[in-house]
Structures are given as structure tokens and as C-alpha cells.
């Protein structure tokens, strides 16, 4: 297994000459779960694209460096809001897609173990259309875990799920991604309060680091401190939004 690594982002981004956010200075701590909150359109997802080198349309003026000084390329895996499963592949083959895309020998044993761990064994031969939204996101998690990368970027992966499935997915993900450096973009203060070991709030005026509730993650949904933090985050989010 890989060890985790922190990331330091410093600078500002613009698209076609229009600045997205004020210059920011963000340190994502190694092995921790960092949540990034903020109003829509402020560039939260752009930040993920910048980290994963997908933001060819964005002009970033600054530096993005890993704490160990090595390049980030090849050390990142990514989970999006939609599950991005290929409808023509079985669940097992979807889990193996990363290795196949790189031309590596697929490790079927490992994929089957992961699917079993996530309660998906009986579905491994099924196709995505036969699964529920929550199950599909679990497959996406299996695919992400299969990559064994130190850094995991999450772009609102649970936002399309119903409340109960979302809470389940939060717990499952926190359990399986423990020890990895996670940057989780979310628009849900409750999610940030439950999962964040660091909570950032990005708005047009720049980045703020918020206070984090006490207790280890995943925090219980009814924990008073977590609920208070959630309320506080929502309040600030509404202020910056208006």
C-alpha cells in the first residue's frame, strides 16, 4: 500500500481572462479527509481538474506541489458526481477498467475481494443498468479503490443519492479511504461536518479554513457538535452566496 502525501496549492485561476477566485493558499494535509465547500460556479471542481491535470481550459497562475516534491501525475484517483460506469461492461470489468486502460494485466482476484468487501459480490457479473444508484456509486468506489492511489479526489459523489444511501456511502467511503489524502468537493454542509478533518470554504473572495467539529470521522449524524458545525457552515455559505 502507498503512503499518503499532502498537497500545497498556491495561486489563482482564470478562464479566458476572467478570474475564478482570489489567490488562495491551501494545504491539504496528508492522510486526512479535506472537504471543500462553496457556492456553485466558484471553481471548486476546477480546483480538482487542476490537481488532476484535466483543466486545459483554465489558466492557473501559481504552484501545485506535493509535500514530498514529486509530481502528482499518476498518484491520483477520482470519483465524480455521476458514477461514470460503462454500461457495456459488467460490474467486475468496470472495476478493472483502470488496469485495462493502462494495458496492465487485470487483477481479477483483487477486484473480486473489493467487490465482496463492498457487498457487491452477487452483482459482479451484472451490468450497471441492473443496479440501484447507491450500488452503482459503490461500484465507482470499488473502481477508485482498485487504483490504490495516495490521493483521492471526490467531486460531489454522493449528491445524487437519497439521504439514507448518502449517509451509508459516506460511512463506507470514510472506512475504505482511511489513511488516504482525500479532497472532497461538496455543496452539502452536513456532509462536510460529518466527514471533514479539514473544512475549506471557497468563495469569490477567496479561501477560508473553517473550524472542524470534535471527534473522529465519520461523525454520527446526530452528534450535537457536528450539527452545530453544519448549522454554522450553512449560515456562512448563505452569507457568501448573497
Amino acid at each position: 500500500m502507498s503512503t499518503s502525501v499532502g498537497i500545497h496549492i498556491k495561486g489563482s485561476a482564470s478562464i479566458a481572462g476572467k478570474q475564478l477566485f482570489e489567490p488562495l493558499n491551501m494545504h491539504i494535509k496528508a492522510g486526512q479527509w479535506s472537504c471543500l465547500l462553496g457556492p456553485s460556479g466558484v471553481g471548486k471542481s476546477t480546483l480538482l481538474y487542476l490537481l488532476s491535470d484535466l483543466a486545459s481550459h483554465v489558466n492557473f497562475d501559481g504552484t501545485i506541489v506535493a509535500d514530498d516534491g514529486l509530481p502528482l501525475a499518476g498518484r491520483i484517483s477520482y470519483m465524480a458526481q455521476t458514477d461514470l460506469l460503462m454500461p457495456w461492461l459488467s460490474i467486475l470489468d468496470n472495476t478493472l477498467i483502470g488496469q485495462r486502460l493502462r494495458g496492465d494485466k487485470p487483477d481479477i482476484d483483487k477486484a473480486e475481494k473489493l467487490l465482496a468487501g463492498l457487498g457487491l459480490s452477487e452483482h459482479s457479473k451484472h451490468h450497471p443498468s441492473q443496479l440501484s444508484g447507491g450500488q452503482r456509486q459503490r461500484v465507482a468506489l470499488a473502481r477508485t479503490l482498485m487504483e490504490e492511489k495516495e490521493i483521492v479526489l471526490l467531486d460531489e459523489p454522493f449528491s445524487a443519492l437519497d439521504a439514507r444511501t448518502r449517509a451509508d456511502m459516506q460511512e463506507l467511503s470514510a472506512q475504505w479511504l482511511e489513511g488516504k489524502t482525500v479532497l472532497h468537493v461538496t455543496h452539502d454542509p452536513a456532509e462536510a461536518a460529518r466527514l471533514g478533518e479539514q473544512i475549506f470554504l471557497l468563495s469569490e473572495s477567496g479561501l477560508r479554513q473553517m473550524e472542524v467539529p470534535t471527534g473522529a470521522i465519520v461523525r454520527p449524524v446526530d452528534d450535537p457538535d457536528t450539527l452545530a458545525c453544519q448549522g454554522q457552515l450553512l449560515k456562512i455559505l448563505r452569507e457568501v452566496d448573497s
Binding site: W88, G98, L101
Partner: protein, 246 residues
């Protein structure tokens, strides 16, 4: 089964209307023969018609196969290479400005009266819809999948083979459906321009000798062949779309 039943009903209705027209309008048989006369001729000349039908069927199937393969490969090539897109795509569109039918006499001149010139007409007609539909599909791969592939460190060839091409197969299927409609047209046009065999040739021959019943019999066989082709290609396309549609 339901599909065949519907066709059967439609066919019966047409035959009824046809017979009614012949009976009530009192048309001479060299203008419009009765359906019974056509069936009679079909049975009587079955060997002759079958031998010509076989030629046309081979032309259609080979034209469809070659046109689809060439169109598909062209689409993949265009999707892969920016230079090819820049240089070749305008030429492709330009060739569509020329009606292929107008070229058919040339092909007969160059390739002779055999099957080759007919297959070439069919290939040229089929090639463009397949290439164009498949290329459009290849260029519209959902961005999320491509991003995922890039983050996973996909090799470009693998990305195309495992994501781009499968994701574009439903578009390919719509091109193929069109191709199945065009293929018989191509073969028949080719035969009309100059041939020594085939249903199109037989129809012209029969027409010239006022054997309208034979002409209709050949037409009937052509219609059945075309319907079967539509059905088979349609089924195949349904499977493709069902499996690969997002």
C-alpha cells in the same frame, strides 16, 4: 413475430387493393398484371429469378459489408488524427455533392458488366452515412469518461478502443440502419446502368419485352430481400444500442 404479423397484414391489404384496381379499372395485363398472374410467373420462372436474385443479394451483402467496414475505419481514423480531419473530412463532404448514380456509368466502363461495378456503387452509397454517423459518435464521447480515463493514465489507443469506440456504437448503428436501406438501391442502380445478371437487369429486360408480370415478380423478390435485410440489420442494431447506450 408481431413484426412479421404486421407486415403480413400490410402485404395482404396491398394485394387486395392491387387486385381491386386490376379488376375494377379493367387494366390490361401489360400495364398492371394481377397479383395472381405475378405469383404464377414467379413460380413458373423461379429458377431464372432465383439465379438473378442470388447475384443481386451477393452484390448487396458485399456492398454493405465493404462499405460498412471502410466507413467504420475511416471514422476511427478521422477521430484519431487531427490532420486527417483537417485534410480528408472536407473531401468526404465534397464527394457527397456528386450523386453516386451519376458515376455508375463510369464504374461500368472501368470495371465492366460484372458484379464489381455494382458493389462499388453500393459501397460508395453506404460508406458516407456509416462514416459520418460513427464519426459523430466518436467525437461525442461523454467528457466524464474521457476525464476518468486520463486520470487513470490510459494509453490513447486503449482509451479509444475501450471507451470511445464502444460509446459510439449506438451512433454507428444508426449509420448502419441507413446503409441497409441504401445498399439495395446502390446494387439495383448499378445493374440498371449496365449488367448481364441481377434482378435490376432482369427487370429492365422484362420491361423491354413487355413482360410486366416478370418485372413485378422480380420486384416482389427484391422487396422481400430488402425487408429481410432491414429486419436482420435492425435486430443487430437494436442489440448494439441496448448494450452500449448510456
Amino acid at each position: 413475430m408481431k413484426y412479421f404479423f404486421r407486415i403480413l397484414i400490410s402485404a395482404l391489404l396491398i394485394i387486395l387493393a392491387w387486385q381491386a384496381l386490376v379488376t375494377f379499372a379493367d387494366l390490361p395485363h401489360f400495364i398492371l398484371p394481377s397479383p395472381f398472374k405475378v405469383v404464377d410467373t414467379l413460380w413458373e420462372l423461379r429458377e431464372l429469378i432465383a439465379s438473378h436474385a442470388l447475384v443481386t443479394a451477393i452484390e448487396i451483402l458485399l456492398g454493405l459489408l465493404i462499405g460498412t467496414v471502410l466507413g467504420g475505419l475511416t471514422a476511427i481514423w478521422l477521430a484519431r488524427s487531427k490532420i486527417a480531419r483537417y485534410l480528408v473530412k472536407p473531401v468526404l463532404v465534397l464527394t457527397q455533392a456528386l450523386p453516386v448514380f451519376a458515376l455508375a456509368p463510369l464504374f461500368t466502363l472501368w470495371l465492366g458488366y460484372g458484379m464489381e461495378s455494382k458493389i462499388l456503387v453500393a459501397v460508395l452509397i453506404i460508406y458516407f452515412p456509416v462514416a459520418s454517423a460513427f464519426f459523430d459518435g466518436l467525437m461525442q464521447t461523454p467528457k466524464g469518461w474521457l476525464d476518468l480515463g486520463k486520470v487513470m493514465g490510459a494509453a490513447p489507443r486503449q482509451l479509444q478502443w475501450r471507451i470511445q469506440i464502444p460509446a459510439a456504437l449506438p451512433s454507428f448503428a444508426s449509420g448502419l440502419r441507413l446503409a441497409a436501406v441504401y445498399a439495395p438501391i446502390g446494387a439495383i442502380i448499378g445493374e440498371w446502368v449496365g449488367a448481364s445478371e441481377g434482378l435490376g437487369y432482369l427487370m429492365l429486360l422484362a420491361n423491354g419485352r413487355a413482360k410486366i408480370d416478370l418485372m413485378f415478380a422480380a420486384l416482389l423478390v427484391l422487396a422481400v430481400m430488402t425487408l429481410l435485410l432491414h429486419y436482420a440489420v435492425g435486430k443487430f442494431c437494436d442489440v448494439l444500442v441496448k448494450k452500449y447506450k448510456q
